[in-house]
């Protein structure tokens, strides 16, 4: 015990065996359920990706239909949860706090206890929580989910109250598939740790949502969009980049702790964004984005040759989500709406072959103290 080695960030330690996804940081490859992320992202609907994670294979046509129907049946939230979300909106609570409140109470009005059913419940309920909160915050009444719409289309519908454009649905769907799972990032690790005590999936996903909120976790591309809009407005992107570098500020959307290459997800999302913008009125913005990316990557290579600061997933996430009209305040909650597929699949994997996660610590505090009564302190 005395000479225990400390593994502060757990970087070299594997805590779980998983079949869900694998990352090769050097080659810049990510595969989900055995499929390269590019294949899955462009071909699947989100429900199909989730089925793949839960069952380790793609569904047949009829399996997919019944899976979609099951998911659609789990979308409603109870009156009390709506009240909580209205209150949160009125108090201008952070959208991630509102999501935590909603997910923590996702069991209300939903009488299931089987882990596999709770997994579907959680996947389905997040879009309703997020949009209900957002409608209240925008001074509008929430829109009830529509069972005839798919997961992604229904989300956009509940957000705007109008049936969405198929190209926007496809764009968002590609994003949701792309980020559905990514190894043991902190939020997924929390979910597995909670499940390791044989707790339930609502608890595990609530914990995951809580950790996703933290600024050290990825999945928060809001600042990337701010940067792009400012740089575009400035009319002088080169000058903007130079100024940031000179003042030692970070350029958002570059560099990843796992990938030493361009993030494979950035590749997928840039294609999706290109496709989406080429059919939209905002084609010029995408042209600017591509140029800006090139400028930054080459300038960063000159500026920090010692580090790999290539484009990460957040860069094109911001571009794509902005394109399909997701308000930037909801970027992180939209990430959660995708990742819940990975969180729940990891929990099911943990529960199937469980061992409690209980690490050691090294004591560095005082020793040998004894009680002093309050008046002699």
């Amino acid at each position: 015990m005395g000479n225990q080695e400390l593994h502060r960030g757990l970087e070299g330690i594997a805590v779980a065996e998983t079949r869900l996804s694998t990352i090769d940081g050097e080659a810049g490859e990510l595969s989900i359920g055995g499929y390269p992320v590019a294949e899955l992202a462009k071909n699947a609907i989100y429900e199909e990706s989730v089925f793949l994670l839960f069952n380790n294979r793609l569904p047949t046509k009829s399996e997919l239909e019944s899976f979609c129907t099951e998911l659609a049946g789990y979308r409603n939230i109870s009156t009390e949860v709506k009240q909580v979300l209205r209150r949160a909106a009125r108090e201008n609570a952070d959208p991630m706090d509102a999501l935590r409140m909603g997910v923590a109470a996702a069991n209300l009005g939903c009488d299931v206890t089987e882990s596999t059913e709770l997994a579907k419940r959680l996947v389905s309920v997040i879009p309703t929580i997020v949009t209900t909160y957002w409608r209240y915050r925008s001074g509008k009444e929430p829109v009830d989910p529509r069972e005839d719409l798919g997961h992604t289309a229904n989300y956009l519908y509940m957000l705007s109250g109008e049936e969405p454009d198929p190209e926007a649905v496809r764009g968002l769907e590609t994003y949701l598939n792309t980020v559905v799972d990514h190894g043991l990032n902190a939020s997924t690790f929390v979910a597995r740790s909670i499940a390791s005590s044989d707790s339930d999936l609502v608890s595990a996903v609530t914990g995951a949502v809580g950790s996703l909120k933290g600024s050290l976790h990825g999945g928060a591309p809001g600042p990337v969009l701010e940067m792009l809009l400012t740089a575009d407005d400035s009319g002088d992107p080169e000058g903007y980049v130079q100024e940031k570098l000179d003042s030692g500020e970070r350029l958002m959307g570059f560099g990843h702790r796992v990938y030493q290459t361009r993030d494979p997800r950035a590749e997928v999302l840039s294609h999706a964004a290109e496709r989406f913008y080429s059919g939209s009125d905002d084609r010029a913005f995408f042209g600017f984005v591509e140029e800006f990316e090139e400028t930054v990557v080459s300038r960063l290579a000159d500026h920090r040759p010692d580090r790999n600061l290539d484009t990460n997933v957040e860069f094109y996430t911001a571009v794509l989500l902005h394109g399909v009209d997701i308000p930037r305040e909801l970027f992180t909650t939209t990430f959660a709406m995708s990742r819940v597929g990975g969180w729940t699949a990891h929990c099911l994997e943990q529960l199937a072959d469980n061992k409690i996660i209980r690490p050691l610590s090294i004591y560095t505090g005082d020793r040998g103290r004894s009680w002093t009564p309050v008046d002699s302190r």
Binding site: L6, H7, S196, S215, W371
Partner: protein, 481 residues
Amino acid sequence: MTPSVFDPGLSFTAVAETGLSEIDGDTGEFRIQGFEIEDLAENAAYEEVVWLLFNGRLPTDNELATFTNELSSARSLTDTIYSLIQEGAEEGVPAIDTLRMGLGAGSLSFDSEDTLMATRRVVAICPPIIAAYWRYRQGREPIQPRDDLTHTENFLYMLSGVEPAASTVKGLETYLITIIEHGLNASTFAARIIGSTGSDPFSAATGAVGALKGPRHGGALKRVSEMLTGLDNGTDPATFVQERLEGDGSFPGFGHIVYNTRDPRAEIVEQAAERVGGKQDSTPFLRNARQLEAVAAEYFTEQYPKRQLHVTVDYYAAVLLSELDIPPELFTAIFAIGRSAGWMAHYLEQLESETLLRPRTRYVGPDERSWISRSDRFVAGDSSPPSSTDLKGISSILGTLSEPARLEISLILYESAEPLSYSSIRAQSSIEDKGRFNYHLRKLRRIYITNTAAGYSLTDTGRKVVEMLVDDEQLLAQTIE
């Protein structure tokens, strides 16, 4: 990729330095900030130990008064949270889930951006959430907290509506202090992972409650209580122990993961139960629990001389809480009331270290696959069977079984009506070498067998395969002839 160490429970890996507490599992000692736990439990008020965890030393009179006020002013809940709790109570949601719901919404109507204040808020609102839940369950209205009562008094007051007796307060307070903190157990670790991202105290506490809920963690209290209640009617303890262990094999309240001795906290709580009961050893509940402990300890020493199976804090906590007339439905939630301070102290420690916890996985999934269009996918019942290249996965799954040792393990599990512990499969199997045994057991996991809290058992697939083998008309019968 850097080669990584595989440690699925992290039981060999130290992930943090802590100044909060120190466990010596071999000598059975436990200290908080350098104070023996016995010392704190005997002398301190709950608020004092919370302050100690947050600040690293004992508070002065003034500091304690200020802190007590801070807790009081952070204790009130908005109507929206009360409605949420009421709905939980009416739907029959367990107390610990309702606590998760309440804490999850704990940031509502709390206008401080200050992280330290939010950690106080977490500690302050656990009691009113649980008390309100219980009142609603009884069909009564919740009772508002009173500023002139201490943390522990307030809880008991909000629960019953009457000012509690001093001896009851002392009994509960002893318990809350004894379990206030205990290293990196699953719930505390969950709080630290959440803190490691820079997230807020409500998120960390909500996650921790979620982990505590699990039967492998906080759930033990409830099981002990059920066990001891079952013993109440004059059963002979020796018969009882034997029947339980030969039955489902579980004996809650025995064998702590970090102690090779009796859990030092058990003693403290046992004595507190004795004091609450009045004169020594006078209540039947405590007397029965003690007799059962003695018989069980003897049984374990005989049966498993190499393993250290001693009583844990949960065992006597169930006795103490019962003596205090606290409903068993609230036991796990009350543990959370005590532990919330430990969670928050660890959360702050992790936050200050600014280190993200991001471990690795070991990939055991399929090799690269290529996309199959929806209409080309095959499962049993569809018309056109796939080609051999698409069947590699299945063929390797079947290959796993083609090994006598693995078939033997599968048959052992098939023969047992209940899940089996690791040691009991080992004992029944003819595979002597431990490494070889572990290897084959591992190979069978996931597809053919699973391991849950209750032990190992066959999966549906595993059961089907073995059924095919052992059916009279089938393979095993033919080959064994």
